[in-house]
Structure formats: structure tokens, C-alpha cells
């Protein structure tokens, strides 16, 4: 039983990363109609940003939680302004190909300078150690990751679904011409949205740095699982991607306990099943 709870917790941690990343993908897809293949690379950049802040500027974990997403978010906005922008009007697949190329470049550059094995990033002192919960030993940092990502996800949901800014955003997705007629700068909104999605990825990167080490390829495999999460959840809904992200993490954790051999594949198998039953995904609209 103890092992089951422990695996569930590990699943919940992975679920936090799935949720943050698929949320970012959903936000970007909603606005730009682009599947951001570079999402994993930008997640990795978030972790590296935290690493640089610590080792070069001496800036610790807490400020990095804010600074790294902003820095990487700005980098993302530059990418959007200089490249992605030129793809509007072309087939969406070009966006996928372009961001795939960007992912290769970013990961390749980091690999050249840092190799493919990890750089250590220490857990902040405040969150070191663990608690014995009786049924399991909980490292405090991992508990923090789950709670913090949940808060960030809900805040993002609130921002998009419940505020005026979010309302404009959703309107611009539906009908950009009309929204522009209201005097809203749609291109700038698109850029900011991309920045927001990228920032969420970078935040996930900072959170995972102490757990996964800082590695150039840390996002490369993760992003494909997140793609599957997004396909399962359907890309239309913000809440859908948050819930699917956490849920799949938990399901993975259960699989690790009951049938560890399938833990890597369970998400993909679920994806196939969902596609057979409901091709538009659990919460998605048909496209």
C-alpha cells in the first residue's frame, strides 16, 4: 500500500508537468493555431535559465521562478515576431515543421555546450528534506511542485476564462477581424499569448530543475507525451488540458504500481482508445 501512495505521488508530480505544458500548448494553439513543437525545448531553456541565474548571477530559486519565465517568454515573443508571424495564412503544418526546426536548433546548441548528461541544480534550502507521512516518505520539494503548479494552472484558467483580457483573447481567436474593428491590436495580442504559453513552459522547467537535473534533452521526450495528453484532452479547452494532464500523471503512477512495464506506454494506449471512441478528444470540439 505504501508503494501505491508513493507511486501516485510521483505520478501527480509528472502530472503537474504535463498539465503546465499542455496548458501552454492549448493556450498557444487556441490563439495561433500552431502546435508548438519547440515547447519542450523552451521548457528546457527555463531550467537552464534558472541554472545560469544561480551560477552566474548568484540569483536563487525563488527569484528564478519569476525571472526565468519572463526571460524565456521574451525569447519566445521574439521567435513569434521574427518567424512564426510569417506563417499566417499557410497550412498549420508549416507551423509544426518550423517549431520542430527551432526545437532542433535550441536543443543542439545547448547540447554542444553542455553535453547530454545533466547539470545539478540544488533544491532550495527552505524545501529540503522530507516528511514521514506514516504511509510514505514525502520529499517536501515534490509536494511543493504539485501544489504550486495546481495554483498556476488555476490562475491561468481564471485569466483566460474569467477576465476581460481573456475575453478579448477568446474573441480574437473566434473572429480576429471583428476584434480588430474594436480597436484591439490583434497581432500584439498573439505575440503576448505566445509569450504566455512559453512562459508557462519555462516555469515548468524551473520547477523540474531540482528533480530532473538540467539537461539539454529534458524536454525532448516529454513533449511527445504531452502531445498525446493534448490529443486525449482535446485542444479546445483550457480546463480540459489541466485536468487531463494531472489525471494522466496519476494513471501513469497507478500503472507503475500495478504493471510497471506499461508505464511508458499507458498514455499512448489511452490516446488510441480515446481516438477510437471519441476522435475529437475528451473535451475537444470537432475540427
Amino acid at each position: 500500500m505504501q508503494a501505491l501512495y508513493a507511486q501516485l505521488l510521483v505520478g501527480l508530480i509528472n502530472g503537474s508537468f504535463y498539465a503546465l505544458l499542455s496548458l501552454g500548448l492549448a493556450v498557444i494553439f487556441g490563439m495561433l493555431n500552431i502546435i508548438n513543437f519547440a515547447h519542450g525545448a523552451l521548457y528546457m531553456m527555463g531550467a537552464f535559465c534558472a541554472y545560469f541565474l544561480l551560477n552566474i548571477a548568484g540569483i536563487g530559486y525563488w527569484p528564478a521562478l519569476i525571472v526565468a519565465p519572463i526571460v524565456v517568454g521574451i525569447f519566445g515573443m521574439i521567435l513569434e515576431r521574427t518567424m512564426l508571424k510569417w506563417l499566417s495564412g499557410l497550412d498549420h503544418l508549416y507551423g509544426l515543421l518550423l517549431t520542430f526546426g527551432l526545437a532542433l536548433i535550441i536543443q543542439g546548441v545547448f547540447q554542444n555546450y553542455f553535453g547530454s548528461s545533466g547539470l545539478p541544480y540544488a533544491i532550495p534550502d527552505e524545501l529540503k528534506g522530507g516528511m514521514n507521512l506514516g504511509f510514505m516518505f514525502l520529499p517536501i520539494y515534490r509536494g511543493w511542485v504539485v501544489i504550486f503548479s495546481l495554483i498556476v494552472c488555476l490562475l491561468t484558467w481564471y485569466l483566460i476564462e474569467r477576465t476581460r483580457l481573456g475575453a478579448n483573447l477568446r474573441a480574437a481567436t473566434e473572429n480576429p477581424t471583428l476584434v480588430r474593428a474594436f480597436g484591439i491590436n490583434v497581432p500584439r495580442m498573439i505575440t503576448l499569448t505566445y509569450g504566455l504559453g512559453v512562459g508557462l513552459a519555462a516555469l515548468a522547467g524551473v520547477l523540474s530543475a531540482p528533480i530532473n537535473q538540467v539537461r539539454p534533452l529534458m524536454g525532448a521526450d516529454l513533449i511527445i507525451v504531452v502531445f498525446a495528453v493534448v490529443v486525449i484532452g482535446g485542444m479546445g479547452s483550457i480546463m480540459g488540458s489541466i485536468i487531463t494532464g494531472f489525471a494522466l500523471g496519476v494513471i501513469e503512477g497507478l500503472t507503475k504500481y500495478f504493471y510497471p512495464e506499461a508505464s511508458n506506454t499507458v498514455v499512448f494506449v489511452l490516446m488510441v482508445l480515446v481516438l477510437l471512441v471519441k476522435p475529437s478528444g475528451l473535451t475537444g470540439r470537432t475540427t
Partner: protein, 406 residues
């Protein structure tokens, strides 16, 4: 007609003679250092192995004796197919004579196959699998530094006899991990211990938490880490995070290199026991070598036993070539000569090469010092026991190498 035949014969004879002198005077050697240049084994092999090869060339004094020696290096990225592709091109296009290092047992076994096909020489230092000199031995391969048998019998037996009689394995999912788990299992069982289970993890894993939780749940007294390099250091660190060691279970890092201890830091690594065949601070000769090595190494690291093995094996290779009076570019012939000559080098002491290609020498059981015991940088190991040559490697009568059945 007669004169023409005579001329023909003379011409043939002359060209034979020319070929023979060319053969005798062919003093070119091309060395290929194939390693993991940027991944989880880059520190224990990688650029350091290329440096060790260069030092071997310089120290041998071969160039002064009229030899022309080139070294090229390549990155196998821990993928057997990439490693074989690089090696194939080295043989076909670059005319490489000898391949050294090759950590990662999967790559090493694949390269060993190819080297046999191309009749080159393969001096493996980095890989661990004992299969290289057992079922999959070839007349072209010499396995120099250590193997899974050494590690298993050094660490496995010692721990099992010391009370660690129930084991759970965390195994890297490739040839090396499998061989190490197999060899350790038999060593532990022979010492009266039992195996409670194990879990395989992919090579180059970052998050070991769910594997460690399985190990924790097994209640085994010893968790055997049948992995290497970055995988080992990661699992040790995360085991601390999940309170595994403080919960009473003991970690056995079956393969640990000095570079791993360095990156873990003594505070985390203290008390780990493991087996190696070379330590820089063992004697005057090893200290002198290590000092020269460290000065030229980009990251100022100390040599690992893999680096030492590359250095020593090349020196012995040169000795064989000198004995042959030139480079015949015939791998099997050179390796046969190397097996014939006794080895005597500064780093591993006196030893020999068995007919199956296994270089044998003593091994040592070390324990990592406490931070308070370390007197200078890189002063990390405490010698616990010396494992004599005859116990450190598979006894010849137990080797399954087909070369022995003649």
C-alpha cells in the same frame, strides 16, 4: 619467348621483394579513440581517453624510432548503430588499425563484431560486459581494464559476506546492466545471499524516483546499482532525497569511477564501497601519471581506470608492433603477439593476457572517505582489500569463449 618469361619472373620477384620491404618498413599506425564524447560516460572516457592515447604515443617514444602515428576520435553517442557506422568508416576510409576505449557494452559488443570482420585490433577499456571475453570473444579483441565479473566478485561477495544478504537491483537496461546483474547475482548467491527482485531503467535516466520507490518497497538490505556514470550518481542522489539510506537500506554502487565520486561530493558519496582496478593515488608511478594527465585535461579531472586502461593497452600494443618489426595491418596477428608477450606497465603492474583476450591484474575494493578524512583535492578512496589477480577475473576453465575450445 624464354627471355620474356624470364623478364616476367624477374619482374614478379622484384615486385614481391618490393612488397616485402614495404611490409617490413610500414611503420604507420592509425588509432581511433571511440567513446561517448558528450553523454553520461563522457567524464569517465570521452576526451580523457583521447588524451590518454596521446600520452601513450608520446611516452612510447615510437615517433623517435621512425613510426608515424595518428589518432582520431569519434563519438558513438551510446548507440550501437552509430558506433558501428563510425568504426566501419574508420576501417574502410580512414584505414584505422586499432580502436580503443568504447565505453557502453552494447556498443562495444557491436564494434567487437565489426573489428573481427575487418581484421583490426580492438583494445577495450571502457566497457564492462564480461561477454567480450566469454561467449562473444574474438581473436581481435583484448578487454583491458575491468569487467562485470570483477565488479560482482569484488563488491557483491564482500557485501554479502558482511551481512548484506538480501538484494534488489536497479539495472540499466542494456548489455552492461544485464551482465552486471547476472554476475553479481551469482556472486551474492554463492556467498549465501538471496535476490528479492529488480527493476530495469532506460539508459540515461533523469528521474529515478519511481524505481527507487520499488526498491524501497522490496525491503531488501542492499540496493545494487547495476548502472554506470551519470545514472549511478543520479540514483545515489535521489535515494538520499527519498530517505532510503537513512531508512536503513544500503546502496551498492557496483561500478563507480573517481569522476562520479567527484561530482557527487564526499558528503553524499561517503561510505560507498566498490571495486576498481586503478586509483591515481596508489603508488609513485600512478601519481606521476595522474599529475601529468590532470595538467593537460581540460576540466582538470583525474584519470579514471578507463583512461589508465587506454594508456596501458596502447603501450602494450606498441610493444607488440615493435616485436613484429613493423605494422602488418593484420589485427589477429598483432593480438596474438600481444597475448604472447607478458605485460608489465606502470599503472596495472605485472600481468598477462589470457587466450580469450582477457587482460588480468589485481583489483581493489575501495571505500569512499568521509569529508574529514580527505586531506587534499581528489583524495577520495580508502583501500579496503586487494583482490588477487586469480580471483578478480573469470577463471579460464569457466570462460565460455569459443577460442579456448581448440
Amino acid at each position: 619467348m624464354k627471355t620474356r618469361i624470364a623478364a616476367l619472373l624477374l619482374g614478379t620477384a622484384l615486385s614481391f621483394a618490393a612488397a616485402n620491404t614495404a611490409f617490413a618498413q610500414d611503420k604507420t599506425i592509425k588509432i581511433g579513440a571511440l567513446s561517448d564524447q558528450s553523454g553520461l560516460y563522457a567524464d569517465l572516457g570521452g576526451p580523457g581517453s583521447t588524451l590518454a592515447a596521446q600520452m601513450a604515443v608520446e611516452d612510447s617514444g615510437m615517433v623517435a624510432k621512425g613510426w608515424k602515428i595518428d589518432i582520431i576520435s569519434g563519438d558513438h553517442q551510446n548507440k550501437p548503430d552509430i558506433g558501428v557506422n563510425v568504426a566501419r568508416q574508420w576501417f574502410d576510409v580512414d584505414k584505422v588499425d586499432v580502436i580503443v576505449d568504447v565505453p557502453n557494452s552494447g556498443v562495444a559488443l557491436a564494434v567487437s563484431n565489426l573489428v573481427k570482420e575487418k581484421n583490426g585490433v580492438f583494445l577495450d577499456s571502457g566497457a564492462g560486459t564480461s561477454d567480450l571475453t566469454n561467449a562473444q570473444c574474438t581473436p581481435n579483441t583484448i578487454h583491458w581494464t575491468y569487467d562485470t565479473y570483477t565488479l560482482a566478485h569484488g563488491t557483491g561477495s564482500a557485501l554479502a559476506k558482511g551481512g548484506g544478504d538480501s538484494w534488489f537491483f536497479l539495472t540499466a537496461d542494456y548489455a552492461f546492466g544485464a551482465a552486471l546483474e547476472r554476475d553479481t547475482t551469482s556472486a551474492v548467491q554463492a556467498a549465501g545471499g538471496k535476490i528479492l527482485g529488480g527493476v530495469k531503467h532506460p539508459l540515461n535516466t533523469a528521474d529515478f524516483s519511481s524505481f527507487l520507490l520499488q526498491a524501497q518497497a522490496s525491503k531488501a538490505k542492499v540496493i545494487g546499482l547495476a548502472n554506470a556514470g551519470g545514472d549511478t550518481t543520479n540514483s545515489i542522489k535521489q535515494a538520499a532525497e527519498f530517505g532510503i539510506v537513512s531508512g536503513g537500506q544500503k546502496l551498492a554502487a557496483l561500478l563507480l569511477f573517481i569522476t562520479d565520486v567527484h561530482s557527487l561530493g564526499l558528503a553524499t558519496a561517503q561510505g560507498l564501497s566498490f571495486t576498481e582496478t586503478f586509483y591515481w593515488d596508489a603508488n609513485d608511478q600512478s601519481r606521476a601519471f595522474a599529475k601529468r594527465f590532470q595538467e593537460r585535461m581540460k576540466n582538470k579531472g583525474m584519470p579514471t581506470m578507463v583512461h589508465a586502461g587506454v594508456y596501458s593497452s596502447l603501450l602494450h600494443y606498441f610493444k607488440a608492433l615493435e616485436a613484429l618489426g613493423g605494422n602488418p595491418h593484420d589485427g589477429a596477428k598483432i593480438v596474438a603477439k600481444m597475448k604472447e608477450l607478458p605485460t608489465d606497465d606502470q599503472l596495472f603492474g605485472k600481468g598477462s593476457i589470457q587466450p580469450n583476450g582477457r587482460k588480468i591484474h589485481p583489483a581493489y575494493l575501495f571505500e569512499v572517505k568521509k569529508p574529514s578524512e580527505s586531506k587534499m583535492p581528489w583524495d577520495y578512496y580508502k583501500l579496503v582489500a586487494t583482490i588477487p589477480t586469480e580471483e578478480a577475473f573469470t577463471p579460464l576453465d569457466k570462460s565460455t569463449c569459443p577460442l579456448l575450445k581448440k
